[in-house]
């Protein structure tokens, strides 16, 4: 199997409370992959750690067999829609163009080529006629499509999306699903954080079941079994969550201070 993402022995804390315990899995290339689990199961934390937005206590993650920094231009990230203030003064085109920002063009003007790519991305999500619309005037589904257009404008090989189906209308859902199929046909990999079990089976080829620890990861036929779902959704592990509270309350470091787990390729 060709690897897209590898998560190796990952433990991550939020406000010094562990939300992921020793999670370890590999994901294939060219598939639509769902990261599924109940609320508070560490799905978003996992994605943010892969994107380098949160520092793990231990373990590491790789994309295409490399540390994130070496492949950043091939990776695109779609944060949760609610994570930004949509009252920000910008129009749809402004936001999609942000997908063209790079470290090396930060001080340069936006080029014609950037605009062309952004326009194409808007066309793909059926929002071209909204290019000049203020983002504050968009519906939830339209906002989500703007975020996806921004991500398409990055022209990446792997897309990490955080809950893109939450609070969207039927038209947006259809548009996203069609896009996912197209992306898969182009050999792209899409990893989607998703909490709704009912639709997960129909959307994804491959599923990672999380609930603070890894429950299962594999093709959906293998993972979507009654036993595994029950394990993931059947409530938190009491001992694990008690221990987490204890670690947070007593500010106990998860590793000895001088312990350092080196990344093999850094």
């Amino acid at each position: 199997m060709e690897k897209s993402i590898e998560v190796h022995n990952l433990t991550v804390s939020y406000h010094s409370k562990p939300v992921l315990w020793d999670v370890d899995f590999e994901l294939p290339k060219g598939k639509i992959i769902g990261v599924v689990g109940p609320n508070g199961s560490g799905k978003t934390t996992m994605l943010k750690t892969v994107m380098g937005l949160m520092k793990p206590d231990s373990g590491y993650t790789e994309i295409f067999g490399q540390p994130l920094d070496k492949v950043r231009e091939r990776v695109s990230y779609v944060p949760q829609r609610e994570s930004v203030d949509w009252d920000f003064p910008a129009d749809v085109m402004d936001v999609v163009l942000m997908g063209r920002y790079r470290k090396n063009n930060l001080f340069k003007r936006i080029t014609k080529e950037d605009r062309r790519i952004a326009t194409e991305a808007l066309e793909k999500v059926n929002l071209l006629e909204f290019a000049d619309r203020q983002i504050s005037q968009l519906s939830g589904g339209q906002q989500q499509r703007v975020f996806i257009a921004r991500s398409l404008a990055q022209q990446a090989d792997i897309y990490l999306m955080d809950e893109p189906f939450v609070g969207v209308d039927a038209a947006t859902e259809d548009a996203i699903l069609k896009l996912l199929r197209d992306m898969k046909n182009e050999g792209k990999t899409v990893v989607i954080v998703h909490h709704d079990l009912q639709t997960a089976n129909e959307y994804f080829d491959w599923i990672v079941l999380l609930n603070t620890r890894l429950v299962a990861a594999g093709p959906k036929e293998e993972v979507f079994t009654k036993e595994l779902l029950q394990e993931a959704y059947g409530g938190r592990l009491t001992v694990l969550s008690k221990l987490g509270d204890l670690i947070s309350d007593t500010e106990f470091p998860l590793r000895e201070p001088d312990f350092k787990e080196d990344h093999p390729k850094e």
Partner: protein, 421 residues
């Protein structure tokens, strides 16, 4: 008044105010308005210490002192927020009051020596543009230009950091560097700004122009330009007043001018202004009245099975509406050919009938939705539907119809009237 020196002071002051308001606009959008205020107050001890320890006449020393104090205050706030369990507002107040108290103490000590009076240190409290020496002015004006250029250079970075910092980090932008540059610019903007409005009122210069500008435009670039213009206009007013009246500080006048601009903006701006919003609410009120009238006539036709005409007296009797208001509603319906006036009263046109049918349909659909989806009792749903029938858009209507599977009757067994093709 129009001597060349005054003109120079004037232009300089406008530049100072404009540049700090442009930097402040990003603080405003980030929702960090109070941090700027804290930094401004925290600059006071830095400025006074620079005066005591260094050469009091040299503005470069003052800028250096301000920069150090501002950075300590800024990182002090971040430290308190991250390492203690204090909330942001507590951390900000703590730093603000401690630094400012220390600054006032130093200021009193210097003033007792008589040196302070001579150097016009007081101007840092409330601003006194006319007291600035020409050399100081050149230095600060140069700094203001540096600020404006920096904002232009870092525009993309600041824009993305303010809107979506996680995304900026995800695409590999040097987030730490951009944040540090922004902090430095904020401290410098405050240093520059207090020359005209003083420490105490600095927050107004950082925030008010941006808040006013935001209500006029939804373009970030234009908003920055407008903030600068508003700040410059207010600075013009403050400087002229301060120069004309003896012993009059500049700061309060600039801040009053900004307040006036903000009030005008919040009242009169198109779309976002209070008056525009009132107008919209009024328009919705008329829409509600019109639709209720069409619904009334449609309901009568439904009962009678034929076209019904009603006089305005009959309508007044059936609806609790004043005759004046009703006349206005009738006039607007007639003007759009939704109603015709016949000798025996007002009757629906085809267009009006279709509109009345739509309102009745939405009413019944919503009642059905409430009972089916929210499990509400059939005798509780009418008042809600009375409101929603005016709000539901065609898109939402289509969703409801789809979700309920093209229903035929509402919870009271009245038919749901669809448009006949």
């Amino acid at each position: 008044m129009f001597d060349p020196i005054f003109i120079k002071v004037l232009i300089g002051t406008l530049l100072l105010a404009a540049s700090s308001s442009v930097v402040g606009a990003f603080s405003f959008l980030k929702g960090e308005s109070l941090v700027g205020d804290a930094i401004a107050h925290a600059l006071l001890p830095g400025v006074v210490l620079a005066f005591i320890l260094g050469d009091g006449r040299n503005p470069l020393f003052l800028i250096f002192g301000a920069l150090v104090a501002g950075l300590i205050a800024h990182y002090g706030i971040s430290f308190l927020e991250q390492r203690t369990k204090l909330k942001a507002d507590t951390a900000i107040s703590l730093v603000l009051s401690t630094f400012f108290g220390f600054g006032i103490m130093l200021l009193s000590a210097v003033q007792r020596t008589g040196l302070g009076q001579q150097a016009g240190l007081e101007r840092f409290l409330l601003g006194k543009a006319a007291a600035i020496t020409l050399f100081d002015l050149y230095v600060f004006a140069a700094l203001a230009v540096v600020l404006l250029v920096s904002v232009a250079v870092f525009f993309k970075g600041f824009q993305l950091m303010t809107f979506n910092e996680d995304f900026a980090a995800a695409i590999g932008l040097p987030v730490q560097v951009i944040r540090f540059v922004f902090t430095i610019l904020t401290v410098l903007a405050v240093t520059v700004g207090i020359q005209s409005v003083g420490v105490v009122l600095m927050a107004a210069l950082l925030i008010t122009p941006a808040a006013a500008a935001r209500s006029w435009t939804s373009s970030l670039r234009f908003m920055l330009v407008l903030s600068a213009v508003f700040a410059a206009v207010a600075a013009l007013m403050g400087t002229v007043v301060s120069a004309s009246l003896p012993k009059m500080p500049t700061g309060p006048w600039i801040v009053l001018g900004l307040g006036g601009i903000a009030i005008i903006s919040l009242l009169f701006a198109p779309e976002k202004g209070w008056i525009a919003r009132r107008k919209r609410a009024k328009g919705n009120q008329l829409k509600t009245q019109r639709e209720n009238l069409l619904k009334l006539l449609y309901g009568a036709e439904e009962r009678e099975g034929e076209t019904v005409a009603m006089t305005s007296d009959m309508i007044v009797a059936m609806r609790r509406q004043h005759l004046d208001g009703l006349r206005k509603t009738l006039r607007s319906l007639k003007k759009e050919y939704l109603l015709v006036e016949r000798p025996d009263g007002f009757a629906l046109t085809d267009k009006g009938r279709s509109e009345g049918r739509r309102v009745v349909r939405l009413h019944r659909l919503w009642e059905l939705y409430l009972t089916e989806r929210l499990g509400m009792a059939a005798d509780h749903i009418h008042p809600q539907a009375e409101t929603m029938e005016h709000i539901i858009t065609p898109e939402i209507e289509a969703l409801i119809v789809k979700e309920l599977g093209n229903p035929e009757v509402d919870p009271h067994q009245s038919p749901i009237p669809y448009e006949e093709d």
